[in-house]
Homo-oligomer: 355 residues x 2
């Protein structure tokens, strides 16, 4: 049976990425060695990092004066590195749920964290839009896509530089990098396997803070060493490169955004139409294009388990919702083909007919 | 031509690890999905971590009361995490070269670092054996195998707990874990690809320090969450599991130690015998079983480049020495077959005949 991979992360990757990675695990760049067993300083692997960095810059139109890094530790380590490197006495955070909260927790270590707005009052099912950012904050941090609550934010207007956790929607739509001092993302949604973390940082934003930064947490160290201060996560970075090549071939972020909008529309339309289901995000403009969260309509609440089993039997994988939202979550990342979205829609319709 | 992989890390892995990983990149545990695209919380992947932890405990005879973790960030992040979690006002370090120095640098952040001994006076070509460890040090840190200088240390006698960076010789020989509060190792030598870091930590050594520890740097957080506080490096951990299975099948660390001793002996004997070459580590008991460092004998110094080219043409990969030692380094990790060591020896003999 065909499987439809709706995992929230690690999540579906392009066939291209999987094939090229499987090949390189056995024979990398014609070396006769596995990509897992060559020195990160070999010319073959340095070429991987160089090309990956160049493609990130090209695809996201990264302006001059920014560095692109592949680090380890996931976005969670960035929750710490961001304030360590950039926060003076105060930083502002937009709280759109779990991930923002975790980011705020690490920043509190360094000074005053101003929560400029929060949608906690409605279990983070919307994006607060009216708020003020203190002019003396070092930055405004936001989570561009909340993987758990199924919401998305556009880069907020602010009179301070932005810092963004783009873990779950990077490369899914264009981004104005110039508004940001820092963008970071765990690779394991739109880019590659877990183990690599993408960082895009504005060079001149660094070195302004009067604080000793441990070596491994200092962006300047990683910039000076071109992501090779210590051994990078070689195989994950190799796999990321394959996805970047695939995305470029497909037409880049502008092209994939169109496809993502179309895929999400097919699913949201069915959720809205189908009497059994409803979206958890009432405001359409706040709905994520990557993580479509929905629940049973109140009258059909008791069917939740039955639908999960029904859909699982039809090959849908990973659609159980996160425990803080309940219901279902279908992640429709870049690599997800519209056929899989359609298969889920068909399953919802079939289930509706039974009830 | 057959390639002989002498890279110092990332480095040679067993055929078994490569084959099983290539398979799982296409179809993991019969899921029809890649190991790169399944949730780390899926039952299939949780089983990977559980088995890997169990095998580490079995192979290293880890006593009760220790936790085994797979983290990210490499051994370099452990240079920071070790003192963050374990160091009070003072810690002791045995300085056997670059890696020890880097570890000391991060510890200085937290208090007084006592260098109990150093072999800097002879470019780290021996292991200091007579030294005192201050009784009020939180621990004595040592690098069990210095990858760059080709030396190995046995667990020093000390009246304080030990902390060991075993990045380049873990699983190559038995270790008395009970003497240690902490053992850590980047995976990319004897275990798997880079991107995973193995940590073995004594539970009751934690929580004694009166310091706020950032979430991602706190071993207790990772223990509570069984290495899944955030997304672990899934594919690297999967590959590590394959190597652990391979090692168990082969007879464990006791069996591989015998093989390692034999392999190293073949190479050191040739270095000693061959008039063109000499070891960089005069004291035989200090010689690493994993990284065999050697240089041209002084009378033949000008042949260095010629030998490198000659050996490269014969399929030897990665034997150029680290710039801080010069000459050559042949890493003979667990997965290296004796045939590759013999091929290098043959090459050295052939080169000798030419001169
Ligand atoms: C938006 C967002 N931020 C941060 C994280 C944490 O990333 P990591 O597990 O790589 O630390 C996630 C993980 O799913 C996420 O979705
Ligand atoms: C003994 C030793 N310690 C630490 C490191 C650094 O490890 P990583 O690159 O994973 O941070 C290395 C790397 O080669 C090493 O050989
Ligand atoms: Mg370069
Ligand atoms: Mg509906
Ligand atoms: Mg468990
Ligand atoms: Mg000799």
């Amino acid at each position: 049976m065909k499987k439809h991979n709706f995992y929230a992360g690690p999540s579906i990757l392009p066939e291209y990425t999987k094939e090229k990675t499987a090949e390189a695990v056995l024979n990398f760049a014609g070396t006769g060695l596995s990509v897992m067993e060559v020195s990160h300083r070999s010319k073959e692997f340095v070429a991987v990092v160089d090309e990956a960095v160049a493609l990130v810059k090209e695809l996201l139109k990264v302006p001059e004066g920014y560095s692109v890094l592949f680090l380890q530790g996931g976005a969670s380590l960035q929750f710490l590195m961001a304030p360590y490197n950039l926060m003076g006495l105060k930083a502002a955070y937009l709280n759109t749920g779990v991930w923002s909260k975790k980011a705020m927790k690490e920043a509190k270590f360094f000074g005053e964290v101003v929560e400029v707005a929060s949608s906690a009052d409605a279990n983070f099912n919307y994006i607060p839009k009216q708020f003020d950012t203190p002019a003396d904050a070092s930055y405004l941090h936001y989570t561009s896509n909340n993987t758990i609550f199924g919401t998305k934010v556009n880069a907020p207007e602010a009179n301070v530089p932005l810092v963004a956790d783009m873990s779950s929607d990077i490369f899914s739509r264009p981004v104005d990098v110039a508004k940001h001092d820092l963008i970071y993302a765990g690779a394991q949604k739109n880019l590659g396997p877990s183990g690599a973390t993408l960082v895009i940082v504005k060079d001149e934003a660094l070195g302004k803070i009067d604080r000793v930064i441990p070596t491994m947490l200092d962006y300047r160290i990683h910039i000076q060493n071109e992501s090779m201060f210590n051994t990078p996560s070689t195989l994950p970075v190799f796999a990321c490169l394959q996805t970047l090549r695939w995305l470029k071939e497909l037409g880049g972020v502008e092209a994939i955004e169109k496809i993502n909008i179309e895929k999400a529309a097919v699913l949201y339309d069915e959720i809205d139409r189908n009497k059994l289901f409803q979206s958890t995000v009432p405001n359409k403009e706040d709905r994520s294009l990557m993580n479509v969260t929905f629940v049973m309509a109140p009258e059909f609440a008791e069917l939740e388990k039955e639908f999960l089993d029904f859909a699982t039997a039809k090959g849908m994988i990973g659609i159980k919702g996160h425990r803080s939202v309940g219901g279902f979550r279908a992640s429709t990342y870049n690599a997800m083909p519209i056929e899989s979205v359609q298969a889920l829609v068909d399953t919802m319709q079939e289930f509706e007919k039974k009830h």
